[in-house]
């Protein structure tokens, strides 16, 4: 009987964990879509208030700057495509994700196309997964 309870709890734990990682993968994709479509409501949900968003030229945006620069037209994303996404570490409350990403954007009026390796650190809050830190490097 005790063995049955233990197995059931383990199974439940695995199911919850699988749901969590599925939710994280959705958040990773959803973030890219929201940046391109300028979905501010989604971005407000996906980006933690203490976010530091680092670009491949070492420029760092706060969450507020992500919104301001989007609204002012300083930085417009026209395409963000992950060619690979790896969940390198997933704990209950946080996770590390690495991706290879192709970005088309317009920065200060100049169009650019860039291939990046991106490191993302996500945390799980009551509202769901939120991006806390991000750093890209040019490939």
């Amino acid at each position: 009987m005790r063995l049955l309870v233990t197995i059931s709890l383990l199974f439940l734990g695995c199911t919850l964990f699988a749901q969590d990682t599925a939710a994280l993968k959705t958040a990773v994709t959803h973030l890219n879509e929201a940046l391109v479509s300028k979905d501010q409501k989604a971005l407000d949900q996906l980006l933690n208030n203490k976010l530091s968003y680092g670009h491949s030229n070492a420029w760092i945006q706060t969450k507020k700057e992500v919104f301001d620069d989007m609204n002012s037209g300083k930085l417009i994303y026209t395409k963000i495509e992950n060619s690979s996404v790896t969940l390198v570490d997933a704990e209950k409350q946080y996770a590390s994700v690495r991706a290879v990403t192709n970005v088309d954007a317009v920065l200060n009026g100049n169009p650019l196309q860039i291939k990046l390796h991106v490191y993302q650190f996500w945390i799980k809050t009551k509202k769901g997964w939120e991006l806390l830190a991000r750093q890209a490097v040019k490939l």
């Binding site: 680092g54 070492a58 390198v88 945390i123 750093q135 490939l139």
Partner: protein
């Protein structure tokens, strides 16, 4: 008398909370400095074992990614000499008292084995988490600075 006790207990908890925030700041800054001087100075693997969390993803500025074991091995066997291991312009943010995000710059000269010294300027992102009361590194990403 009761109101005095209430005021005193609120004051004490504010002071204690404030102190624990300061303690965490000091600990994370110390750990970050220790990491920096170890990676670019002593290259001592025993120290790295203590600083690294159970799971670590360690990213270099060219896009190379190492696991915990690969990073320790790579650092310990790195033949380069580095001129200046200090942290510059650092920023530390805390989430939930058990996650800390650190960013800083390092600007130094790297002398690779058999090569002339060359400038090495990097922006570093460190993610620290608390494991059993100790701050441990779970994520690292470097990016090249312009100059």
């Amino acid at each position: 008398m009761k109101s005095a006790l209430i005021i005193l207990s609120i004051f004490s908890s504010v002071v204690v909370f404030g102190q624990s925030k300061n303690v965490n700041f000091v600990m994370v800054l110390a750990a970050s400095k220790n990491l920096q001087t170890t990676v670019f100075g002593t290259k001592d693997s025993a120290t790295l074992e203590k600083l690294f969390a159970k799971k670590l993803t360690y990213g270099h500025s060219g896009g190379k990614v190492e696991t915990r074991e690969e990073a320790i091995h790579g650092i310990a066997n790195n033949k380069s000499i580095y001129s200046d291991t200090s942290l510059k312009a650092y920023d530390i943010r805390f989430i939930n008292k058990d996650v800390a995000v650190v960013r800083y710059e390092m600007r130094e000269t790297e002398t690779k084995a058999g090569a002339a010294p060359a400038p090495l300027n990097l922006g570093i992102l460190l993610v620290w988490v608390k494991e059993k009361g100790q701050w441990k590194l779970t994520g690292r990403q470097a990016v090249k600075l312009a100059n």
